[in-house]
Symmetry: C2
Subunit: 137 residues, 2 copies
DNA sequence: TTTATTTACTTGTTAAAAGCAAGTAACATT
DNA sequence: AATGTTACTTGCTTTTAACAAGTAAATAAA
């Protein structure tokens, strides 16, 4: 498990929570791509190692960024789901996407998307969150 | 230097740019705390090693997140300054601060600050950027 | 119903990165 | 001229990540 030092500053807390590249990429899988299974995470383009994935999922569960439950239709599978704590990172993810859209010369983000994100921010945030709202009572 | 793999996705680009804890903490020093010198960065509470700091500053310069120039008043010193590419990460930093303010039990961020950030977002973003605008022609 | 396959890991080893301590070189101060 | 400051570099140790192989439980196929 990675080393974590939190000094009380909000950025320090953020970096102690997900200050490695994999945690954000796993959150992308769950929140933006709607993946929920271990083998789906394993297939991400960046190529995560199985021991690192297992380690990060445990850490994220410990941090209460995700929960996991058995898939009743296939008892071998776990379903990984984001908590509200993770979903509250959607604004961070959105700003990362806007920034990358502006500065990545090989970005896949279209100018139309960036404009939509920037100019209809509240709506975009709601839309990103919507697929996870059905869980609520 | 840290390994970087960018697959075209905006989050992948973000993580390839600053997907380690130190780069964001150095950006905090420069953008939020207005530090500009090597020895000031060395004094950050998280305790960065001198070789890692030197490595990251080089990488950030290469990425055009910062520039450096000699201090004319003390020729030993370099002045490190953020580029527009770095300043455009202010919205990301702001969202990190809001999230940490909500979830860090030992946060130093007050509820009043979070409310100000959330409800007067555009104004807050402008204020964070203002100290760096004087450089413009 | 044994046999193979899927799923989610664990374990062991190697490679890379971070952390630590000491040293250096240019400039500045006393 | 000697001492201190500033921004590093270099060498070594420790930690983390990456790679490869193996395992165990659940399911599917023969």
């Amino acid at each position: 498990m990675m080393y974590k030092k939190n000094t009380g500053c909000p950025f320090s807390f953020s970096m102690a929570s997900f200050g490695d590249k994999w945690t954000i990429l796993i959150l992308r899988e769950i929140i933006a791509i709607h993946h929920r299974y271990y083998d789906e995470f394993m297939q991400m383009a960046e190529g995560i190692s199985t021991n690192i994935l297992a380690d990060r999922l445990k850490d994220m569960e410990k941090q209460k960024l995700i929960t996991r439950r058995r898939d009743t239709k296939n008892k071998r599978r776990w379903i990984y789901e984001p908590t509200d704590k993770a979903l509250d990172l959607i604004p961070v993810l959105l700003e990362l996407a806007i920034w990358s859209g502006k500065y990545d010369p090989d970005t896949g983000v279209t100018q139309a998307h960036i404009e939509a994100y920037t100019q209809r921010r509240a709506k975009t945030l709601k839309e990103w969150r919507k697929p996870f709202e059905s869980r609520k009572p």
